[in-house]
Every structure is written in C-alpha cells, then in structure tokens.
C-alpha cells in the first residue's frame, strides 16, 4: 500500500454497468493537431482535400510527438485553430464527414517491421490522461534495465469507468497489448493492476490471461493509479526522485493505451477514437466510443444533455481533470471522461484567505510525503526557495491535499504557483 491517499465517493455506479456504445458520427469534426505532450503537429492536408479514415492529417519530425489521423472519410473544410479542453488555442483540421461511414475500415499504418515505428505511426499516446507519446516510453534509456511492465487499470478517479468497461468487455485485447509491450521492451514480468472495486473485470482478465501474466487487485484508494504510487504498491520500489520509472526497472502503460498498441501492431489501426465515460448530471450516463474531434457539446447531447444545476463540466476525473470553459471543444486522445458535476458536489469557488487550522490531514494524506500546508504558506508569502527546498517539485498534483482540507484552503493551486516559480528559477527536479 502506498503512503497516504484518500477514498472519495466513487460515483461509478451510474456507468459501471453500461456497455460501451458508439457515439454517432458528427457531421463535422474538429481534430486538434496537439493531442499529446510534446511538439504539436503540422497539418499535412489543405482545405478541400478528400481524406480517408486513418489517413495522416498532421505530423512533425520530432521524437516527442504523435501524428494525428482523420477519424472519418470526408473533406477538409478548414485548417485553422480550436480551443481545447485545457483552454488553449491550437491548430486544428476541420473535416466534414461523408454521409455514410465505414468505421470498420481504415488506412493502415504501414508495417516496416519496426514495432516502435508502427506505434509512433499510429499516433498512440498515454490514454489515461497524461498523453505522453507511447513510443518514447517504449524506448527507455540505454542503461535502464526494464524488467517489469505494468498495465494500469486502476482507474482510481471517481466517476470514470471507461477502463473498467474496456477490461471487462475486451480482456483478450488488454492481454494482447500486455504481450506486445512485453515483447517490445524485453521485460520478464507483466502485471495488470486494477482496483478491487472492479471484481468483474478482474475475473475477466484472469480468465483471459495465461500464467505469464499477473493480474493483481489493489485496494481501492486514490491515487492508486498514479505511476509512482502504483509501482510502490506492486513492487515496493520507490522511483527515485527526479527519475523516470525506468530507473526502477519499470514501464507503466494505461490499459487503453496497451489495447491501442495491440491494434496498431496487429492491424495497423491508428488512434482515431477512444472510450469516454460521460456521467454525472447527464440524462443518459454511459461509456461511449467516440471519434476524436467530436465536440464535447455533441457528446453531451448523445448522453441526453445536461440535467439540473450543473456547476462544473470536467474533462477527465474530478480529482485531476480540467473544468471546461466552453463545451465546444473536441474530444482528444487523453480525454477519459466528461463529468458534469452538480451544484453542491463541486468544490466551492475559492474564497479569500482560508486559514490552515493545522489539522494534519494534508501532510498525513499526501502520497508524496510532502507538507502541503507549509508549501502553500510559502507560496502565499512568495517564499519560492523555501518551497523548493521542501521538495515542492515532487508534487504529483493529485489533489489529495485540497480534497481533504477542512478549511478548503486552495492548497494545490498555491503549490502549482510554487512549482512554476521553482521551475522558472531552474531548481533541479
């Protein structure tokens, strides 16, 4: 068990039993050129071009990047910009979809015999939300001896069930993904980890796995799915400060990413859709298979629309996701859920100075062993060096501290300030 953490109400009942269904193909898709961490892609198509499903529409020569493909057969209507869920304006290709679509067929990624090249060609990124290009992870530093591959199916965020449904409905694809990753990386051990609140998925995976693959149920506790915490819970190893998991001999991929890798390697399928949990205050909560570039507003319509007094609409889970300023933003590779948080459940808007009553909850529950109350106070007083000295850069932004604080002090928000300041000053992380 990792240090600290919390157990917020799961709210997963609404969608845990909902089988994945296709969301309708929108008439017009807005496909951002930056759906990953790293260099944004440059559009490779022009207005008026005919595009086919699976065809590359954006790419760039950079190691840390991932090409973008057309999710549909259609015509490029516009090459411009779009607002993203993160509130940024990025380049985007707007496509008018043909009336009739063949979602089963696509332009495959060419097979050159190099698995890594094919994963890159398929535009695969971390689908748990991190959106780090998978090929980079699959290429660990030369001196690292990666002996264990972990597939992360914890899904510790409240509300989300997309990974749960994937593991339950397609366990054999998850296992296939695990084997591909193991082979690419040359690892000895493969562990698929999920939280104990998904016993049906656990059973399905165990039935599909052979004895070279371990399927492990971990206690249900947030942030069980955070990389460092997950590695510790499974292997009792701490990823050394400032290092990648490969330094501890481990590689972690989200289960959906593993399935995308398997699809890419077996059929050349590029990443053009994903499962999104649409839940909270919507009429028809469910898990939808959504073409990337579908607008969130359309997806919410598919789910029957918002109901009642919705205070925040979140992309991702409520602990780490982003509150949307506009619903007209496209679904992207890392968007695991859309959660409409009703009034009363959402965290209050931050009022002015909230005192720390020194209750001890935040230092005791911080999974990184930090003292959030102190870091926040340093940030309040612009004492950036002091914050850096107390390891502010180790914060994984899990939000546990803000969640537990009885006085609702905006801890993580202040800590982000301190992190940014420490980084700007060039403090080594």
């Amino acid at each position: 068990m990792f240090r600290g953490g919390v157990h917020p109400p799961g709210h997963k009942e609404a969608t845990a039993g909902s089988a994945v269904e296709w969301a309708p193909v929108p008439a017009r898709l807005v496909v951002p050129m930056s759906q990953h961490l790293g260099a944004p892609c440059v559009p490779t198509v022009a207005v008026g071009d005919r595009v086919s499903r699976g065809q590359v529409i954006g790419d760039i020569e950079a190691m840390v990047s991932a090409p973008v493909h057309s999710p549909v057969n259609g015509t490029v209507a516009e090459v411009g910009t779009t607002l993203t869920a993160a509130g940024m304006t990025v380049k985007a290709v707007v496509i008018d979809a043909d009336e009739a679509q063949e979602l089963e067929s696509f332009v495959p990624v060419p097979d050159t015999g190099d698995a890594r090249a094919r994963v890159r060609g398929a535009g695969i990124v971390g689908m748990g939300g991190a959106t780090f290009p998978s090929v980079v992870k699959l290429t660990p530093p030369k001196d690292a001896d990666v002996h264990t591959v972990i597939l992360n199916g914890c899904e510790c965020e409240p509300f989300l069930t997309c990974d749960h449904r994937l593991m339950l409905e397609q366990p054999e694809r998850v296992i296939a993904g695990a084997k591909h990753v193991r082979e690419i990386i040359g690892a000895k051990r493969v562990i698929i980890a999920l939280e104990s609140n998904k016993p049906d998925a656990l059973e399905a995976l165990r039935a599909a796995a052979d004895d070279t693959i371990e399927v492990v149920a971990l206690p249900t506790r947030y942030p069980q799915g955070a990389e460092k915490q997950l590695i510790y819970a499974l292997l009792k190893t701490e990823v050394p400060h400032g290092k990648l998991p490969s330094a501890a001999g481990v590689l972690v991929h989200n289960v959906a990413t593993a399935v995308a890798i398997a699809d890419a390697l077996e059929t050349g399928k590029p990443l053009t859709e994903r499962i999104v949990t649409v839940t909270g205050s919507v009429a028809r909560p469910g898990n939808y298979r959504v073409l990337l570039g579908t607008l969130v507003s359309e997806l919410i319509e598919t789910a029957g629309g918002l109901v009642g007094d919705v205070e925040r609409v979140i992309s991702g889970g409520p602990m780490t996701g982003m509150a949307l300023g506009s619903l007209d933003v496209p679904v992207t590779k890392g968007m695991s859920g859309i959660v409409a948080v009703p009034k009363g459940m959402a965290a209050p808007a931050i009022a002015d100075d909230q005192p720390c009553m020194r209750c001890g909850r935040c230092p005791q529950t911080c999974p990184m062993g930090l003292e959030p109350y102190a870091l926040a106070t340093f940030a309040d007083r612009r004492m950036w060096d002091a914050a850096a000295k107390r390891n502010v850069l180790d914060c994984i932004e899990c939000g546990v501290c803000s969640y537990v604080c009885p006085t609702k002090r905006p801890l993580l928000q202040l800590i982000r300030l301190a992190k940014a300041a420490a980084m700007a000053k060039g403090v080594k992380s």
Binding site: V313, D394, P406, L412
Partner: protein, 332 residues
C-alpha cells in the same frame, strides 16, 4: 449549440472536496462535550450553567469585536470560539467568580488566539491560556473561595453540590498527604467510582471521567482527533504514577487528565501534525503532567504540561517531518 457557461465555475482541480469542514469538526467536538457539560449542570447546579454562559458568551463577543475592530472578516461561524468557551468553563471549578470566568475568556480569545492572527496562528491552546491566566492571577481566590458570595448570581440547586464544591479536591489532599507523610490518608481506590461517574470536586470537566472518555472515543472513531495523543498522554501518566509508587488508576482519573488528554491536548492548532509527532507530544504531556503532580508544587499540572508541550510542538513537527517519497538513497 454553444451554451453559456458563465454560471459555472472554471476552477483548478481537484473539483470535488471532502465533506469535512472546520465548523463541522468544531460541532463534533461540542457534541462530544455536551454530555459532560449537561452532567456538570445537573450535578453541580446552575452555577455550572452560569459559568458556561459567561465563558462562551465572552469568548464569542471578544472574537466578534476583535474582528470588527481589526476590520477582518467575521470568523464566529468557524465554531472555534464556541469550543474555546466551552472548554474553558470545563477547566474551571464551579465556584469561579463570574468576573474571573469572563476575564479568562477575554484572555483566552484575545491574547490566546486573536492577537496571533486568529484560528490557526496561535501557538498555545487558547482555553488553557485563559485558564492559566486566572490560576496565576487569582490562585488564592480560586483555591479557597468557599463561598460564592456576591458574585453568585444563581443559587445552587443541590445542597450536596454546594457542600462538595467548597472543599479541597482529593488530588490536593493526596498531594498534601504525600508531602507530609509519604502516605495517603484515604483509600485512593475508593475514589475510582466517584471519579468515573460523579465527582463534585474540582472543575466542571471532572464530574465524570466516563462521559469524557466516551466523548473522546467518539471523536477518535469519527477521525477528528488522533488516538495517539490521548493514548500517549494517559499511558505515560499511568506509567509515571506507578513509577512514583502511587495508584495509576486514581491518577489518570483525578484532576484534568481526561479533559486534557482528549480535548485540550488534541487541539489541532497547538499540537504537532505528524502521527509520530503526536505520539511524542502525547507522551510529553503525560510526562510533564506527572512530574508536576509528583514533584512540582502543583497537584493539578495539566494546564501547564499541555501549554509547555504546545510550545514544543513546532520543534516536534520539525524533527518528525515526513520523508518525501522517492528520496531514497540512489547511486548518483
């Protein structure tokens, strides 16, 4: 299909928060104290009620006025002043004159808390600051005032209560006995039952150890206070009493130990934050309470033991600082 989101909050993550709030926590503490307080009023009479009214009233008014004068946002609703007032009354004997109780509350809130900047900024437990102030200023009045004279606004309801509360406490008698002859003039074990259920000597918070323990357990189970503080405190007190050749059970039941261990030492603001720190702190409280009781001048040393450990809390926090995850010895 765009729709206005102006009514919604675009805030940073996390977007949800636990149900725990500061007033909620304070109300639990109050609820845990209510049985003891009611029992004190029932057994000791309306003087006890009067005392509660004075300390709580003055605490609230002091905090409200302070905020007003300092032009700060009102903080009464966080509930901490109510807790301070309640705890303060429980730490005082029923014969405390009303003006003295009022002074204690004024000092508790004013000098014990607000002058530092309000909740969360004070080094010492405000209720104990108030109590310490009156014990030091008017020790004679507190210890001896057998009659409540002109300051007694309300008559006692029970004659029994009147007689009992005018005498010296068993603890003081025991200390005097021990100092004089090294032996006790009464059977300590015979005191267990009154101390547990109905004891009219001492402060309002000494009426029933059972009720205090039950209240404390509720707070522990509810996750509001850390068991390490009362466990360290009471455990050390018992051990030390035994080491000093006295009756451990009597010594943990008598005086302010239970009130101190469950309700005073566990005050968030003035105690350490880490689990280890809290255990160390609890042990320290018990140790100094015992030292005060057995070799110091005061049989009742709970207040000063806890205040002393309050002063050490920042130091304890510093030495029990958690290790950042991942800061393992690596080979670089």
């Amino acid at each position: 299909m765009s729709e206005p989101l102006s009514a919604r909050i675009v805030g940073p993550s996390p977007h949800i928060t636990s149900k725990e709030t500061c007033p909620g926590i304070m109300l639990w503490v109050v609820a845990a104290l209510v049985p003891s307080a009611l029992w004190a009023i029932v057994t000791m009479g309306l003087v006890a009620l009067q005392l509660f009214a004075v300390t709580i009233g003055v605490s609230l008014v002091t905090e409200a006025l302070w905020n007003r004068i300092a032009r700060k946002p009102q903080t009464l609703l966080d509930g901490s002043a109510l807790v301070t007032g309640l705890l303060l009354a429980m730490s005082l004997p029923p014969r405390t004159p009303w003006w003295m109780a009022a002074a204690a509350a004024l000092v508790a809130i004013g000098l014990g808390k607000m002058i530092f900047g309000g909740l969360g900024h004070n080094l010492f437990n405000p209720a104990l600051v108030g109590r310490a102030f009156v014990t030091l200023s008017w020790a004679g009045v507190l210890a001896t005032a057998p009659e409540r004279g002109w300051f007694r606004a309300l008559p006692d309801v029970t004659a029994e209560g009147y007689d009992a509360i005018s005498g010296a406490t068993r603890l003081a008698v025991a200390a005097a006995d021990r100092a004089a002859s090294g032996a006790y003039g009464f059977d300590l074990a015979a005191q267990y039952q009154p101390l547990l259920l109905k004891n009219l000597e001492g402060s309002l918070g000494e009426v029933s150890a059972v009720l205090l323990i039950l209240g404390g357990l509720v707070l522990i189970v509810r996750g509001i206070i850390d068991w390490r503080i009362p466990a360290g405190y009471i455990g050390t007190m018992a051990l030390a009493s035994w080491a000093f050749g006295s009756d451990p059970v009597f010594h943990i039941l008598a005086g302010g130990v239970m009130l101190g261990a469950f309700f005073m030492a566990t005050d968030y603001v003035s105690s350490p934050m880490s689990k280890t720190g809290r255990l160390v702190y609890g042990v320290g409280c018990g140790l100094f309470n015992a030292l005060g009781r057995f070799i110091g001048p005061m049989p009742e040393s709970t207040t000063f033991a806890i205040l002393f450990m309050n002063g050490l809390a920042p130091l304890i926090d510093r030495v029990t600082r958690p290790r950042t995850f991942g800061w393992v010895k690596s080979n670089d």
